[in-house]
Symmetry: C2
Subunit: 394 residues, 2 copies
């Protein structure tokens, strides 16, 4: 048995080699950039009017004749004389030899002539070429997470595809003779299987969409065969159940027979003590406890960081928050506790029903309060560390 600290260190030290793939930008939301983005164009790439108004050659004159028009999208080749002006709109190309745009609010117009009532400085209201982005500049850095702003920016630069880190494919293997599919009345001694959909949803929510589920009965042969098949699909394999020490827990032996090397087994924590973690070449295997809430706790604390690391995230752990606890708490277990809790504005309430088989508390919690193994008592207002279950920021 190892400490939580040691287990987290092992996850941190585990080397993964993220895969790179090219994706259409509209498929790249939430992915991590695997390349520096070099601007292929200037932004703007022509001299652009910043206002609705009139483009002209700045001079001592105050009266101009409107001889042309440039609206957004026009590829104009207008040539102005000194007494001429072009009607122009925001975003439109400024005529080649114009050097100033006068706002429409600053002129008094009659028919095709106007008088400037408020003379701008020479060069006013023109966005020069490359004002925002210069061609050749590095504008987005490898390692950043693509959100709607980043993807919109790529589109604005003319990109259709982008290189990103590819999240791993994940196999879920569910073991247990007692498990029954929903839809029919429960058989005597059976329970409804919930871990596969729970893990699938957790994977989806955090950006892993390539997921396949496998099932095995509680025999060594069936478990061994199912692990072999599951490893043919997944870069990462999550096994649910069968890892305790009962006579019908065959997962450890079946992993061994599939040449998956144990990295650790059992952590001094509650829930989730019998967590097993191992490796076969570049594939990773977590054997999670069968109890739903234990499995989900282990997922948030250990599995998800490895998946995020594999997906190219540099901040791969769920973010931590500091909060004041609002009640007494005693930890008589000598173990590190992960407690489902509700955080609001710096205060955190530990929820009732912490049993490892109760998932509904997870449905209403937004953090896991971590109480270290050596902390025995907490008083109201004491500060605790919370794992924020609502995600990864930028």
């Amino acid at each position: 048995m190892i400490s939580v600290k040691r287990a987290l260190n092992i996850i941190d030290e585990t080397k993964v080699t993220p895969q790179i793939k090219e994706l259409q930008i509209s498929k790249a939301l939430g992915h991590v950039l695997a390349e520096n983005i070099i601007a292929p164009i200037n932004m703007p790439n022509f001299r652009q009017s910043a206002m609705d108004g009139y483009a002209l050659i700045w001079n001592e004159n105050k009266t101009f004749t409107v001889t042309n028009e440039s609206k957004a999208g026009d590829a104009n080749t207008i040539h102005l004389e000194h007494s001429e002006a072009a009607r122009i709109f925001t975003g439109a190309k400024v005529p080649e030899n114009a050097d100033t745009v006068v706002m429409q609010e600053h002129v008094s117009r009659i028919d095709d002539k106007f008088l400037i009532t408020n003379m701008p400085k020479k060069g006013a209201n023109i966005r020069p070429i490359g004002e925002q982005v210069k061609k050749g500049d590095c504008v987005l850095n490898k390692g950043m997470v693509l959100n709607e702003g980043g993807i919109g920016f790529l589109a604005g630069l003319g990109f259709k595809e982008v290189h990103v880190f590819s999240p791993p494919k994940v196999s879920i293997l569910v073991t247990g003779n007692e498990l029954q599919k929903p839809g029919k009345p429960l058989k005597e001694g059976a329970i409804y299987e919930s871990n596969s959909v729970m893990l699938q949803m957790a994977l989806h929510r955090f950006g892993t969409h390539k997921v396949k589920t496998f099932k095995a009965k509680d025999t060594l042969k069936a478990t061994k065969k199912a692990i072999k098949k599951a490893l043919e699909y997944g870069d990462v394999l999550l096994i649910s159940g069968g890892i305790s020490v009962g006579d019908y827990d065959f997962v450890k032996e079946a992993l061994n027979q599939n040449f998956v090397d144990e990295t650790f087994y059992k952590i001094n924590q509650k829930p989730g003590k019998p967590l097993w973690f191992g490796k076969k070449d570049q594939q990773f295997v977590f054997a999670l406890p069968g109890n739903p809430a234990s499995a989900l706790t282990c997922f948030y604390v250990y599995v998800l960081p490895l998946l995020k690391k594999y997906s190219g995230f540099s901040d791969y752990h769920l973010p931590r928050l500091e909060a004041q606890i609002n009640s007494d708490f005693k930890n008589t277990t000598g173990k590190t506790l992960f407690l489902k809790a509700f955080y609001n504005a710096g205060q955190v309430s530990i929820l009732p029903n912490q049993q490892s088989s109760m998932l509904n508390t997870f449905a209403t919690s937004n953090v896991l309060v971590t109480i270290p193994e050596n902390v025995e008592t907490l008083k109201p207002q004491d500060r605790v560390t919370c794992i924020n279950l609502n995600g990864y920021g930028n």
Copy 2:
């Protein structure tokens, strides 16, 4: 022109009628429950062993003979005598007339006999029927957001489907002659169109997946026709561009001709001043500024709350955070400002490049700092309100 406060009030006062649909639980992640969930079974629904050990009828004896076995999933009909015990495993059904389970660590076994070395209390290590959930109890409330914990819990109760609020279908209409698809070199005077993919990604990230994009050239006829088509698909229509006061901005008139009633037009804010919001029966229309960062700001502050309300969320605004600003700031505009910024541990830095056409700052920001119209100067350590762009919690 109205104030930001008034515009937000209007969004709050806008009545929407969320649609309800039945979904497979594996499709319901992130949706809001539209029904109270009543437990259809007890959990557990049989007396379950909490340990690996031996089930027996508690009595003064300390020596027992193992005559049976009950493993997880067995529908056992074992009947024990007073001197008999059944080998039993965690999660397995306790024989009908057994009343106690002794942990395997508390017996000394030789062949089929064992001696209890540490006598448990009568009733120990048995989870009674309904210990966790009682059949008929309301276990999840209408209005809660379904995460992986909630969906796993529904699966454990045997649910295959669930009633949720249906997010709206959204049409995006992009206007502007200057807009060009990515993939080919830019024509003179053109820019790459980026708002449709940006809005589509923002919609996806916040749970709206039914999205269709429409395009229109800058004529009244084309704009009117495109709005009509877009309203045939979407419950909500987002229009990008054409809402300023240039001679080629036809959106306002085209909306009018499609019988969409204006609720407000123009807000005293920067960016995003020319935002237009209106209604046609139960359909809602936002006409967003064409500048990408202005459009995205309006999306976060006004559009997203309406979409979330439509999807059944009670906390439909992006969450607000309080933070200390780390630099001076002057607001000489008399407008409410929304500034792209980076929040970390209670501190916030306003990012450079706040221009309304620059999206790359959004790619690296995680909050929008709100500076009210009547605040003119801020000093380092002053407290500001930040809009958290990373989502809706539970």
